[in-house]
Amino acid sequence: MSETTKTTVKKPNMVVEIAGIKLRNPVMPASGTFGYGEEYASFLNLENIGAIVTKGLSLKPKAGNPTPRIAETISGMLNAIGLQNVGIDAFIQHKMPFLRTVNTPVIANFFGNTLEEYGEVAKRLNDIPEIAAGELNISCPNVKQGGIVFGTDPKAASEVVAQVRKNLQKPLIVKLTPNVTDITVVARAVEEAGADAISCINTITGMSVDIHTRKPRIANRTGGLSGPAIRPIAVRMVHQVVQTVSVPVIGIGGISRPMDALEFLIVGAKAVQVGTANFVDPSVMQTIIDGIEAFCIDEGIEDIHELIGSLKL
């Protein structure tokens, strides 16, 4: 005769730690796809996601690029927003009051035009106790300064990370660009310069042309490709970086379903960021979190760490 006691399904432990920050689960938005959090508060319980990652912040407000700034491509989109943001002062004054009310770690993504400016923004972040960590953007493909210039050269990347490390009294995540010949070289350089974690990948430079007007479909001529189209490239690069560095890696690139996030965890990402999919379905991160949990239950996994880096080769 079978036991009559009801078996309650045991929920898996989803808590992960990145650079000393405890996340209730490994799912967070990618910078630039989630505004400053408030934009999505009506669609998603912000206290259910692992962290909130802000739009990239700079010392002074930044206007961004001319329009058109976005174009849809097959299973992806090109964007060249140009890091439009309110600037660190307005962020503290107008965006932090809301973020303070949310019991979820806030990661401030930031960038500068010069080495000094990177350091300055890092210093300003120290003044905001509710910011859990900084995510250093050295990988935006759509602006001349303040992005990819630093991210594509291992020496420049190392310098900027060292500069920020000196000034930032918080955990430092460095976001890498895929627009390089060998991402492991840059990954190793930023780890040596003091990064506590690495997030990758940012968008892949692309271009699309309107055949009737014969003009580029975005004003910046080229833009960053994101969305499901780039996922296999991202999985490959995250795998390579995980094999190279010992700091935790946050996987980003084309995640829109639970199974996509699981792929990144299996290759060794300790957490994931969801980007373009937020535009398509504003509550997609909840779906992904629930799906990861359901997968763990189905597979008899009690702790998400059993899954992370479990790739069989």
């Binding site: 989630f34 934009e39 206007a63 961004g64 849809e72 439009q84 499901p228």
Partner: protein, 284 residues
Amino acid sequence: MKNYRTKIISNQEISPGYYRMRILAPGFSEKAQPGQFVMFRVQRSLPPLLRRPFGIFRTGFLPADCDGLAPKEFVEIVYKVVGRGTSIMAELHEGDKVELLGPLGNGFDVPTCDGERILVGGGIGLVPLYMLAGKLVEKGCSVRLLMGGRTRDDILAVTEFERLGVETYVSTDDGSLGEEGLVTQVLERKLQKFPKAEVFACGPMPMLCAVREICMANKTSLQVSLEESMACGVGACLGCVVKGAGHTDERPSYLCTCKVGPVFKAQYLDWNALAQSHGCGGCE
């Protein structure tokens, strides 16, 4: 605003290339304001990846069935087939599952007192004007609709405006329906007759630029509803920005069409920049 996981009530071609779709949306009508829009997810599979923005034509209730169930609340959009997304939409049927995010954005600033109001619609730009017309009539305004299109096929839903008590004037570029010529010619005449009228316009950018010129010359108050491609519809992607009046490289002013708009008071926009980015060769 809310993401509705819902289904289609009906989807019909109302003129060659133009469709009217009714979607089940409980609780939608009490929130929706004239000029607001929805982000519509065509299907769960790819492509297309992104949602498409559509102006709300109207909201309402289906009459209760004889089964005694509560009347079904719907939102209605009218769309033109222009690309991949709208082609797929045209193939959808009653009962098909869709997703709808809305109501989104800032709609028309509806004047509080009665008076002369002129609505100018170009083709599919007619859509957001229907709910506005209803509101204005309710306020006791005298409302005129000037509806323009290339041919008679582009003239939509005029009789529905008439049923609200709106006086309508139709013009087409080829003269196949109503007066031959541009809708802006009709606007100039009407403004001579009603110099104190307020104007509300939605349509292609060259039409909006011309309407704005006429309104400037007559010192007429003008609100316009803009269409820009957008990814999120909630102010996060910053893909749909337009330049605000007084925009300079030193003091930039970029306004999200999805959040600050889609309806703007004409004086708050940089019209030269709008004309350039939509390739209509300058407004001034």
